[in-house]
């Protein structure tokens, strides 16, 4: 099969995109950990990491090295294959979601339109949900294969929790889908261009979905926190109850993979929140051509950062839910609210449509 130079060029671009996204993402994850430690420390009137490099900026490297060189302890009675599979699954799935997330607009290179996105899937959003829904396995299997009671509890809890909150998570975004009429993340962002016009006057409010879907956003964000197992929904690993939850028996780099996956998932849900409700990479753009390409990426990163900041802030403030309260909250409050939101949105969309 002969490849034309065009195909080769596009293939090269795709490879470059994958490598760049992976590198940026892994660095970002490392520094989110640093950010979390630093922010939570300041919330708690501590200094946080400050010994490794200026402001402790080299701390992520030190942590990574430490994880690498720690002894990998495998308990005797574990199911070896599954025990090994779970962290890899967890990390791989967390990374896979970034394949469809658009980081910015597009630019022209040698006559080709190049989009700042690895793959523009026309069912991009569903793809992300599909991949994250598989993420439950890594936790459930980790809990099961450890052959220990606390991890099993953690695994069971998180399976139940993630199934329950996935529903609310999925239903919360249906409203925005109905408004934009597409499942492609790029189309959804493009539908949020410009500003809101109310009765013919320009309100100068950006045309973001958050202004028409506030309920959807709130449900989405709460469910997202639960989906990523963060405080106040961090029951699967609630360390004061279940020691470490599903990763109690993991050590060394296998543990690091769970750890990185958790932070990668945080980034994913923050990205989706930005794309669906906050206009993605849209923001004031000015200056020369190269700035037209880079500024959107900056706006996107800034919005994602705000969400991550909120995540960390929550962690410094709130206690943890109890298992039954968590379930009651998910099924009896979030789910009905999400459903009502869909109902209301569909009526409005139908009414405007006619």
């Amino acid at each position: 099969m002969a490849l034309s130079s065009d195909t080769l060029f596009l293939l090269g671009v795709a490879v470059v995109k994958v490598v760049v996204v992976l590198l940026v993402l892994l660095t970002a994850i490392a520094y989110i950990v640093w950010l979390e430690r630093k922010l939570v420390a300041h919330i708690q009137s501590r200094w946080g990491p400050y010994r490794v490099g200026p402001y402790g900026l080299m701390q992520p490297m030190a942590d990574g090295l430490k994880f690498l060189f720690k002894e990998d302890i495998v308990p005797l009675e574990v199911d070896r294959f599954v025990y090994w599979l779970a962290p890899f699954l967890s990390f791989t799935l967390a990374m896979l979601t970034f394949a469809v997330i658009p980081f910015g607009g597009s630019f022209k290179l040698f006559g080709h339109e190049i989009y700042l996105q690895i793959a523009d899937l026309n069912v991009g959003l569903l793809y992300i949900f599909a991949v994250t829904s598989l993420g439950v396995y890594s936790i459930a299997l980790a809990g099961w294969s450890s052959n220990s009671k606390y991890p099993l509890f953690g695994g069971l809890r998180s399976s139940a929790q993630m199934i329950s909150y996935e529903l609310s998570l999925g239903l919360a975004v249906v409203g925005t889908l109905m408004i934009s009429g597409s499942l492609s993340l790029r189309d959804i962002v493009n539908s949020q261009t410009g500003t809101w016009h109310l009765a013919g006057t320009n309100t100068f409010l950006p045309h973001w979905n958050i202004f028409v879907q506030p309920v959807g956003f709130i449900v989405y964000f709460i469910a997202a926190i639960a989906e990523t197992n963060r405080i106040p929904f961090d029951l699967p690993e609630g360390e004061t109850e279940l020691v470490g939850g599903y990763h109690t028996e993991y050590s060394s780099f296998k543990f690091a993979m769970f750890f990185m996956a958790e932070y990668a998932n945080m980034v994913t849900v923050s990205c989706i929140a930005t794309l669906l409700f906050f206009g993605g990479w849209h923001g004031p753009v000015f200056g020369p051509a190269w700035l037209h390409v880079l500024l959107p990426v900056f706006w996107f990163a800034l919005k994602v950062f705000c969400f991550l900041f909120f995540y960390i802030w929550t962690r410094g403030t709130l206690p943890r839910f109890r298992y039954d309260q968590l379930m009651a909250f998910g099924w009896k409050f979030l789910l009905p609210v999400a459903l009502l939101n869909i109902l209301a949105t569909s009526f409005v969309v139908a009414w405007i449509g006619t």
Partner: protein, 370 residues
């Protein structure tokens, strides 16, 4: 005897501790579970047993005093105070007022320190990370006062039988009042973080309910008893030192749940501040030692003396045979007795509530095991 569970599933026995982040030391609790619901608990203690009571028989009265600091090591001052008072009662020694008020100030500071530590760890158990750092920050100020007074921060050995080892340092009064002014707004801050927090209320209200009747039957004392609505405080009912000369209230709860015990302890810190303020005002120059000889040699008799330690009634039963060594010392530790209530409080609750209940009992394993 295993109780029937639904779908005839086996009940799960899970071992919490002795290495577990939420058992406050080396407590081991065997939980019998149906799913996440607790059918019963069994406490296994003794991992920190050092034979303190036996050691007492081989030490003189003076030599034994530092050992009691190691029982409830987060409230060493009150431990030492109870022991010294027991021996003083045995010998019939009256303390001069300066020594009495100094003891009260330090003991109340210790009560605040102990409650602060409890609040931080209890909140941490329930998942709130931040309060523990705040409370440690405030506790640090108390430890600084202790350090200035006697050189030690944790196991202070602050008092001697018959009075105080050291007179107060210059500026102690200022430090104590400054701390009181500093602490009150901080307590409001904790309450802001937790008291009206919906998650906190969900996690603590109606959890670990202990009725006043059960509490009395189990011999539970301290904030756990008062949280169940029983107005019982040794400082009021059998005043020691000069507690009958200061004004303070006994905060009580109504429902006997974890939230009420939390409120009781928060209020107790405020009352302690009141006591400290009044005691500081009454500190007058004077002797710091009662009439005791160089050698402590109580007459052959036996005595039971109890004080209100931060965790409840701390009692010392001392038997003397007329020599310099006690014949027998028996400690009634509040943590040990309060721990008895764990089973009755935790039945029917979830695993997550167990850590809340262990936290609300405020046990220190050094005291449970001795």
């Amino acid at each position: 005897m295993p109780e029937a569970t639904y779908l005839d599933a086996n009940e799960l026995v899970i071992n919490m501790g002795p290495q577990h982040p939420a058992t406050h030391g080396v407590l081991r609790v065997k939980l019998r579970l149906d799913g996440e619901r607790v059918l019963g608990t069994e406490c296994i203690i003794g991992y920190l047993h050092r034979g303190v009571e036996k050691i007492a028989e081989n030490r003189t009265y003076v030599q034994f005093a530092p050992y009691v600091d190691r029982m409830d090591y987060v409230a060493a001052v009150t431990n030492g105070m109870g022991y010294c008072e027991a021996v003083e009662k045995l010998m019939g020694v009256e303390l001069p007022p300066r020594a009495q008020y100094t003891r009260m100030i330090l003991a109340e500071l210790q009560r605040i320190a102990s409650h602060l530590l409890w609040l931080g760890t209890h909140a941490l158990d329930i998942g709130a990370m931040t309060p523990v750092f705040y409370t440690f920050r405030e506790r640090e100020e108390i430890l600084k006062i202790f350090e200035n007074y006697c050189g030690a921060r944790l196991t202070t050995h602050a008092f001697r039988i018959g009075g105080l080892q050291y007179d107060l340092y210059d500026g102690f009064e200022k430090d104590a009042t400054k701390f009181c002014d500093y602490l009150l707004p901080k307590i409001d801050e904790y309450e802001e973080l937790l008291s009206t927090n919906r998650i906190w209320m969900n996690r603590t209200k109606k959890v670990g309910v202990l009725s006043g009747k059960d509490a009395i039957a189990l011999g539970v004392t301290g904030p756990v008893l008062r949280g169940s609505g029983v107005k019982w405080d040794i400082r009021k009912v059998q005043p020691y030192e000069a507690y009958d000369k200061v004004e303070f209230e006994i905060p009580t709860g109504q429902n006997g749940d974890t939230y009420d015990r939390y409120i009781v302890r928060i209020q107790e810190m405020r009352q302690s501040v009141r006591i400290i303020r009044q005691s500081v005002e009454r500190l007058a120059p004077g002797p710091i030692f009662g009439k005791v000889g160089k050698v402590i040699k109580p007459p052959a008799a036996e005595v039971y003396h109890s004080i209100e330690a931060p965790k409840g009634e701390l009692g010392y039963f001392v038997v003397s045979d007329g020599s310099t060594h006690p014949y027998r010392v028996r400690v009634r530790p509040p943590s040990f007795v309060n721990l008895e209530a764990l089973d009755i409080m935790s039945r029917g609750h979830l695993v997550a509530d167990i850590v809340a209940i262990i936290g609300t009992l405020d046990i220190v394993l050094g005291e449970v095991d001795r």
